[in-house]
Homo-oligomer: 220 residues x 2
């Protein structure tokens, strides 16, 4: 015999799933303002009392629908591989998540709602921070290990993630492997070059230990 | 005596301005879906017949309100100055425009509406293309003049504009002079470094003419 109470009651599980699917559909198709208890009841066929028992407020219903809609957390980046490989892998995973429907479709509606509703803004900020975490860890570790000169990690995140956000939200160009590879390549060259310039200016830098050859010189 | 017909009739000018202010207010506060003829009449105090005489459809009303709300076109970038100065100046102007209220406040609502309404999407695409044009011109000219190695201009736009879009829409960090300077500096170093690598790989490049000294060599 299986338990028939609480979360494991198959009827409860089914009606919760139907409600969450309905909220996710409404979020994507109508935006956050489209998530009303009436619309959720109409689409899910679940009774008002059942909806309110699980999600006492509309805000909780919206947040549960968002969590249902959002892609699962990014797996930790493997510690092996070159810095370029780890950055490319981390960006590739984020690009993939940003391209998955219906989530991709819902991003502008979510940003628009975040501007109006503080709880949606807080949920979005947590979501963004969770997604940034692996990339942030790769950057910090690279600086500590000397593979990258000291960088402003927030600036680095803007330079690495910005092109993806720009293409996703502004131009609708594809977030493909070429973009990942080019952005990482240009980022690493840009920052390695800065390291060289700093060294020339007489600044000491932990990044200097990453050079595997003698310093570059200009003849003439 | 002044003309009392058409666009120059001061009463017509005043009621047009009141309607456009009302549409802009509704766009910012309620999003595109908040722009209904009823709401415009209520806020502007202008009669339905007058609204319809100037803007026969709701779509035209929304587009007129957007044009009223959007900042004026970016002035052409001065041709003098170094490439870094011209890129920084162009990005600085775009950053300033992205930060001006109420436009800054309206961006997510506009993107959300663009996803739903083809005419809003077309207006947004034209707006984006107009704003990209000066930066695109600076990049093309730099490549032609040899100040920059051949670059994928669309990739370059994503790398230069992406950090600004990311901060404006995702993290709400400031779009300040430091961001402009750092993004341009890292971009130029990343691409100059690529030029060097291409030269090493035996690829010819118009960018080579930009070097004002003999080639860099590695000793050892």
């Amino acid at each position: 015999m299986t338990s028939t109470s609480g979360e494991t009651d198959p009827r409860v599980v089914r009606s919760r799933a139907r409600v969450l699917d309905a909220v996710a559909y409404l979020l994507v198709e109508k935006g956050v303002r489209g998530v009303t208890v009436e619309a959720v009841m109409a689409r899910s066929g679940v009774a008002r009392a059942t909806v309110y028992r699980h999600w006492p407020t509309r805000q909780e219903l919206v947040l549960a629908g968002l969590r249902h809609l959002l892609p699962p957390p990014v797996p930790p980046i493997a510690v092996d591989g070159t810095l370029a490989q780890r950055l490319t892998s981390s960006l590739g995973e984020l690009a993939r998540q940003m391209s998955v429907e219906p989530w991709a479709h819902a991003i502008p509606a979510l940003l628009e709602a975040a501007r109006r509703e503080p709880e949606i803004a807080a949920a979005t900020a947590r979501f963004v921070a969770d997604r940034q975490a692996p990339l942030r860890a790769v950057l910090r570790e690279a600086v500590e290990g000397g593979a990258l000169p000291p960088v402003d990690v927030e600036l680095a995140l803007a330079e690495l993630l910005g092109p993806f956000v720009y293409r996703r939200l502004i131009t609708s160009e594809p977030l493909d492997e070429a973009l990942c590879a080019n952005v990482v390549e240009d980022f690493l060259r840009g920052h390695a070059a800065r390291d060289t310039a700093d060294a020339v200016a007489g600044l000491s830098s932990p990044g200097a230990t990453a050079h595997d050859g003698p310093p570059t010189t200009v003849e003439g």
